[in-house]
């Protein structure tokens, strides 16, 4: 195979890897947006904090796989508790209040991580082998492939949960028709809390996957959350499928731009994400998969 084709294939796979991380974090945002109409600005910080928990466990001698599962349980519980304690009291409050409360969480969690673990950048052990995988004569990084596999398994399980389980159905019902669901005996408040737990869990997985690449520091998620915003907006903030597709498109496009248009460079990748957010919101606010919303007058 030609060198150019190999490079292209490698860059696409690498883009899919980062894209699937954008997709996971975007999915976490969409899960909460669908149920409450709120963008959780602290989603990235929750993922960052969970990743530190995983790091701490590994430092304490817990094997990687064990640390992974303990962390996602902790992340889930943390999400549920935060919803009950911090979000519940302002659940029906105006949008601006909720934005400020999630920004409060953003600031507090960021500071807490800095307080506990410091601001020095730490390496995070990769859960994947360092030997490349040979597929059809092209060498792919095992890390990229591993990230894609883990993300897709996660996304698949989340989809199955929502489509095939009674609890998933109840959560969807509570998100879309809260009043009617309450009449049917669904505990809507707890469904929202479970939604936060699930979003936090999915976010934690994205954090653990990206940490070996970007390293661990309290601000590691700050640009990643912007990419997740861009992915969610591109796919349509209401649509889980949209978040995944949006994330993958964004990952591949940014990676190819970085490879073939050197002028973009590392710094302007963030600007490209910003441009996508603004362009989609101005031209087609419902994104690729969302439906147009109407405002009740």
């Amino acid at each position: 195979m030609g060198w150019a084709v190999q490079l292209f294939a490698q860059q696409v796979v690498s883009g899919l890897a980062t894209g699937s991380i954008f997709a996971s974090l975007a999915l976490a945002l969409v899960l909460i947006y669908r149920s409450m109409g709120v963008i959780n600005f602290a989603q990235g910080e929750l993922a960052m904090f969970s990743t530190y928990v995983a790091w701490q466990l590994v430092q304490m001698g817990v094997p990687m796989l064990g640390a992974f599962f303990i962390t996602i349980v902790v992340a889930f519980a943390g999400g549920v508790v935060l919803e009950r304690v911090v979000i519940r009291p302002v659940e029906r409050a105006p949008q601006l209040t909720l934005v400020i409360v999630t920004l409060g969480l953003f600031t507090a969690i960021n500071g807490l991580a800095g307080w506990i673990w410091g601001y020095i950048v730490k390496p995070f052990p990769s859960p994947f082998p360092s030997t490349p995988l040979q597929v059809g004569g092209v060498a792919f990084s095992a890390q990229d492939v591993g990230i894609i596999v883990v993300s897709f398994v996660t996304l698949g399980l989340v989809t199955l949960f929502f489509q095939k389980t009674k609890l998933g159905l109840a959560m969807r019902a509570a998100a879309i028709y809260p009043e009617q669901s309450r009449v049917l005996g669904i505990r809507v408040g707890w469904m929202l809390a479970l939604g936060w737990g699930l979003a936090s869990l999915v976010g934690a997985i994205s954090g653990i996957m990206i940490a070996p690449v970007v390293f661990l520091d309290p601000n590691m998620m700050q640009s990643l959350i912007v990419y997740a915003f861009a992915a969610a907006v591109l796919g349509g903030v209401e649509s889980p499928i949209g978040a995944v597709v949006g994330g993958l498109i964004l990952g591949v496009v940014l990676n190819l731009l970085g490879t073939y248009v050197p002028a973009i460079g590392d710094e302007l990748r963030l600007a490209a994400a910003l441009a996508i957010i603004v362009a989609v919101l101005v031209i087609k606010p419902s994104g690729l998969f969302g439906r147009a919303t109407v405002q009740r007058v």
């Binding site: 400020i100 409060g104 600031t107 963030l270 606010p285």
Partner: protein, 339 residues
């Protein structure tokens, strides 16, 4: 409004305190208060935009960055004096604000928050990228501000009085601006956009202008920030700055301009105190305070104190006479509903 003192009296007291402050406090505190003036100007812009008009900006640091870099580049590369640089910084930032304002017209509520958040996060990377103009990572250093030869005071004291004079002018101009038709239109568009538009308030004109004016103020603040620090770099204008401005506005209170003054004092001095506990303590304190304020005192320190004062004076429990800004802003940024 506090029933005890009329507004002119309170303004006079504030002006007198600011004028006399350098005589009683040590010079490093005077220097801190230059930053208070800078933050107050920027937060004032945020109060007009978010508090009065219901448009959320989480990226006001971007406008400060633009103002700061315009002033710094003109001084550093061309050697232009600050009295030319600062107005040009205000104009550049204002023009950018008008542009963002036009875009913001298309973005309701949380989408505007999302876009401005992203703008705030992306700002340092723009500054790092265009190295030939901005100096990249290293930034640009500036000559410290000196008093004109005719005035025999040291540069720092001169800067203090100039910054506060500009802050005073910004508050006065803003007060005049929002007193009449303009202020009414902003509040009407925040509280009930449909009714406002039905009564002939032009949302395009007023909302864009609110963004532009807010950005003018942020640009001036950015220019003074650059002059005071005598240095600009991408790390000066991080996302943390944008968030800190919002924190100042929320903690101070977004209902009145006094909130800008109180909020500026809080964000200048709270980190200095909290840092003694731990490097990360300011963030934790800010975050917890933001959440608790939203729970219990959504109209900020100024709003809370005013209500308390009113209650003490009347000796009867009284409901807030004005709807809190957050309740009011809710109508402007109502969540989309499905039909």
């Amino acid at each position: 409004m506090s029933p005890a003192l009329a507004r002119p009296v309170r303004v006079a007291i504030a002006v007198a305190l600011i004028a006399l402050l350098p005589a009683v406090v040590p010079s490093f505190v005077v220097f801190d208060f230059v930053y208070v003036a800078v933050y107050a100007i920027a937060i004032l812009g945020l109060i007009i935009l978010t508090g009065m008009n219901g448009q959320i900006s989480l990226g006001h640091g971007a406008f400060m960055a633009l103002g700061g870099y315009v002033a710094a580049i003109l001084a550093h590369r061309l050697g232009w004096p600050y009295w030319v640089g600062v107005p040009l910084a205000a104009i550049a930032s204002g023009a950018f604000g008008l542009l963002i304002g036009v875009i913001a017209l298309r973005l309701a509520g949380v989408y505007l928050a999302l876009a401005t958040f992203s703008l705030g996060v992306a700002t340092p990377s723009f500054l790092k990228h265009y190295k030939s103009i901005t100096g990249g990572f290293g930034g640009l250093s500036l000559d410290p501000v000196k008093a004109p030869a005719a005035i025999p005071v040291d540069g720092q004291l001169w800067l203090y009085y100039v910054a506060w004079a500009i802050a005073g002018a910004a508050f006065l101009a803003s007060a005049l601006l929002v007193r009449g038709r303009f202020g009414r239109a902003l509040r009407a568009l925040r509280d009930n956009p449909i009714a406002a538009i039905s009564f002939g308030v032009n949302p395009t004109y007023y909302k864009t202008l609110a963004f532009g004016w807010s950005a003018v103020l942020a640009g001036i603040a950015g220019a003074f920030f650059a002059m005071t620090t005598a240095y600009v770099s991408p790390d000066t204008f991080t996302f943390a700055l944008s968030i800190t401005l919002l924190i100042g506005a929320v903690l101070g209170g977004m209902l009145t301009f006094w909130g800008a003054l109180v909020g500026a004092i809080v964000i200048e001095f709270l980190p200095l105190v909290a840092q003694q506990i731990n490097e990360a303590a300011p963030s934790v304190v800010y975050g917890v305070m933001l959440i608790l304020m939203m729970f219990f005192v959504p109209d900020g320190i100024v709003g809370g104190v005013q209500r308390l004062a009113r209650r003490l004076v009347r000796r009867t429990p009284s409901a807030p006479s004005e709807p809190t800004v957050l309740a009011a802003a809710s109508m402007a940024v109502d969540r989309p509903t499905r039909e």
